[in-house]
């Protein structure tokens, strides 16, 4: 504890520790490669992601030298679609998770540090928000704004996904409130905002990172579910989520269609989680019992 406080808030040392951590370096490398692939890959592929090459004879073709990941039910090149779909999936997932984490952490910290009356009010708000089915909310929005731009989709996903994080953070903060170092900081006259950022935030990073890294994968898949309601990415625009969903229909006969984007999805989630773990360790070196 004191070890961390001594080094506490020193972000440069955090970054340094992160850099020497092999696992984090590897994960960051993987993420950067995938980002580069989806950014520049579509420029290199021979086919356009929406191009239907031969809808009668080239349907669900096996992977071959012509089509490295095969073709889908519309005779489109799966590789081109996966690379092109990665752009939107990564942007949507990472930004939506960022938004939901930011709101969740802020809300949870305020509730956790505030007086019990305010805390109760804030947490009952979370209870209420959690209980309204997301589908309903989205359907109602759809009724008022049928054509939803992607940035609004991101905001929507973020704004409807932070409740769990808020609860986790709040319960951690409540548990930390009366620990000696917080009480000491308080006694020394630390402002609440400073107290929160300097002394409490580092301690809630653990559970938050765990929750957020898993949310990345969930959001990518959720986006595909939303297009069911007419929200989300519209065909023929690919996203990893909708490629997997369309491919699931042919799981038994053409598994490559859903496995290829699924593999990318899993790699991203693994890399983000490894980065999260590394970040957590770097933030709090005391976690490493020798």
């Amino acid at each position: 504890m004191t070890a961390f406080l001594a080094s506490g808030g020193d972000w440069q040392s955090v970054l340094r520790r992160l850099r020497v951590d092999q696992r984090s370096t590897f994960a960051a490398g993987a993420l950067i490669s995938i980002a580069a692939l989806v950014l520049f890959g579509p420029l290199l592929t021979a086919y356009k992601p929406f191009e239907q090459l031969d809808i009668a004879n080239l349907v669900n073709a096996r992977p071959s030298s012509q089509h490295l990941l095969g073709t889908d039910a519309f005779s489109r090149d799966v590789l081109s679609r996966v690379l092109s779909g990665g752009r939107i999936s990564l942007v949507v997932a990472l930004s939506a998770v960022f938004i939901e984490t930011a709101i969740g952490v802020t809300w949870g910290m305020i509730a956790g540090l505030a007086a019990s009356r305010i805390d109760a009010f804030m947490m009952r708000c979370v209870d209420a928000a959690m209980s309204v089915p997301r589908v309903l909310l989205l359907l109602a929005i759809l009724a008022t704004a049928p054509q939803l731009p992607v940035w609004l989709l991101v905001v929507l996903l973020g704004a409807t996904g932070w409740f769990g994080t808020a609860r986790l953070v709040r319960s951690e903060v409540r548990a930390l409130r009366n620990t000696d170092f917080v009480l000491a900081a308080r006694a020394l006259g630390a402002e609440s905002s400073r107290l929160a950022i300097r002394h409490v935030l580092p301690h809630v990073v653990g559970p938050v990172l765990v929750a957020s890294t898993l949310a990345v994968g969930q959001v990518i898949v959720l986006e595909a579910g939303l297009s069911w309601l007419g929200i989300g990415v519209r065909p023929p625009q690919p996203s990893w989520g909708n490629i997997i969903r369309d491919g699931t229909e042919f799981l038994a006969t053409a598994p490559w269609v859903s496995i290829a984007p699924g593999a990318f999805l899993v790699i991203v989630v693994l890399a983000v989680s490894a980065l999260g773990d590394g970040l957590r360790d770097a933030l709090a070196p005391r976690h490493l019992p020798r």
Partner: protein
């Protein structure tokens, strides 16, 4: 006691807000309860209006709301237009199936996740820790609808070990012995529960591991170690106990999943639970049933969050002092 009654009162307010919000939201969605069946239905607008009147869905949202509150006070949640029965009986039919499925899945996933997480924490950063972490994460990252179908096809079709979905064998004689019925139920449970466990274990195991590592580094744990308490005892007595916080919060968060948490899994496995009921209610714009399902969900949310708070306070000595001296806030 005062805290309890206060909490109860707050919960009632939450329920009321949720009911009102869903009541309004579902009516904003395009379509109406008597249109969803067939696009070429010859049912005229006049007939639909007549039905709306017959089922108490006519008039402005305000009048409908007042009418609905009136019947709610008599314990009547309204009539489900898509399943042709009172909302309460539709829910009473589906809820036990959900509890049976999700209850089993959550129990196994939490038991498994907590043991795995603790086991990992004790072997922090060793090969096994990394390996287990990788496997659980892989499970947690898979899309639910994809995983459900893979498990259904492999367990029920390619290997033919278990039945193809459903909650029970439709041909089971009604006079079958309790043992046979139980066996049948369990056989139907295996595949969907496996799917859910794979999906839910990951967050539990990871939270458990992270929380334990956090506590193992804490000062008072180290003090205990310095005092000569054995490592195993420190782990069990001190770290484990206090690390339960996030897990309990997670458990509280998982409780409402009993209702809508398994829509895709229920869909693929033809499980007649709340997920299918709620999804069907939304799709067919069955207004009263949607609100009914949301209220059951809200009930579980408030219970889950209250339980999580109570258990956390009970387990964590630090929050206990907090609660006994509210002046500290």
């Amino acid at each position: 006691m005062r805290a309890l009654s206060q909490r109860l009162w707050q919960s009632v307010v939450v329920l009321a807000i949720v009911a009102t919000a869903t009541f309004v939201l579902i009516r904003l969605a395009p379509g109406d309860p008597f249109s969803a069946a067939l696009e070429n239905s010859r049912i005229t607008e006049a007939v639909r209006a007549q039905w709306r009147a017959a089922y108490g869905l006519d008039g402005s949202i305000g009048t409908q709301y007042v009418r609905w509150i009136g019947s709610l006070l008599r314990g009547d949640l309204g009539w489900s237009t898509s399943t042709n029965q009172p909302v309460t009986s539709a829910i009473a039919h589906a809820l036990p199936h959900s509890i049976w499925l999700m209850g089993t899945a959550l129990s196994i996933a939490f038991a498994l996740g907590m043991s795995l997480g603790a086991w990992q924490a004790a072997r922090h950063n060793r090969g096994v820790d990394r390996g287990v972490g990788f496997v659980t994460l892989l499970g947690g990252a898979l899309p639910d609808f994809w995983l459900a179908l893979v498990i259904l096809l492999s367990g029920a079709y390619w290997l033919r070990l278990f039945p193809v979905g459903g909650a029970s064998d439709p041909l089971l004689p009604t006079n079958a012995s309790a043992l046979i019925v139980l066996r049948d139920r369990l056989m139907h449970l295996v595949l969907p529960v496996t799917t859910l466990v794979i999906l839910i274990t990951a967050p539990v195991a990871r939270q458990q591991r992270a929380a334990l590592l956090d506590r193992l580094g804490a000062e008072w744990v180290r003090t205990a170690t310095a005092k000569g308490v054995s490592a195993g005892k420190v782990f069990r007595r001190h770290a484990w106990r206090t690390a339960l916080g996030p897990i309990i919060t997670l458990g509280g968060l998982a409780l409402p999943a009993l209702v809508g948490g398994a829509v895709f899994v229920e869909h693929v496995f033809a499980w007649p639970g709340m997920g299918q009921l709620a999804a069907g209610a939304v799709a067919s714009r069955d207004y009263h049933l949607v609100v009914g399902c949301a209220m059951v969900g809200a009930l579980l949310v408030v219970i889950g969050s209250a339980l999580a708070d109570v258990v956390t306070q009970y387990l964590d000595p630090r929050t206990v002092t907090d609660a006994s001296t509210p002046a500290a806030a």
